[in-house]
Symmetry: C2
Subunit: 96 residues, 2 copies
């Protein structure tokens, strides 16, 4: 598995001595869901990432970038042999 975002969130949360349940309450979701997000079992929604960034005083764009990286990762993970070439193609388009 991958999970850049969850790891980062956990890092931020623990460094601030906050509990899962506190962050979960802030987002108004179950603690279990928050746990899954940190562990990469579930994806956070974009809105959730934004709220997490706010609550943990983190850079929103940085967290969203990790969130997107996880999404890309899960798109390519099943196709490791062609992933690099496909990324190159998608990247070319991006530069326009």
């Amino acid at each position: 598995m991958v999970n850049y975002l969850g790891q980062k969130i956990r890092e931020l949360r623990e460094s601030q001595n906050l509990l899962l349940r506190q962050v979960a309450a802030e987002l108004e979701v179950d603690t279990a869901l928050m746990s899954k997000i940190e562990r990469g079992d579930r994806n956070a929604s974009k809105q959730q990432v934004i709220e997490i960034a706010k609550y943990l005083k983190a850079n929103e764009e940085e967290l969203l970038t990790l969130w997107l990286a996880d999404k890309i990762e899960s798109t390519i993970v099943e196709e490791p042999t062609i992933a690099y070439q496909a990324m190159k193609i998608a990247n070319k388009k991006l530069k326009k």
Copy 2:
């Protein structure tokens, strides 16, 4: 929109003077679906790509690479400002 795969398929199909309905019959799907795949309105499944490659005598890996590039593209398209950075992160992981 993007659609590397559909464009390539159409190119291959037309250069061989085949009809949508012929390719569709081969895949055992409706012609309408084949049209949508070529136009990028619908995604082909991996298995469909493989069968298309076979029928159109194309390189399977090449088509799958375009298919994956389209998937990556649609993952990042909503986040153009952070896409490049996220790709870089995902790419780093890939090299391992």
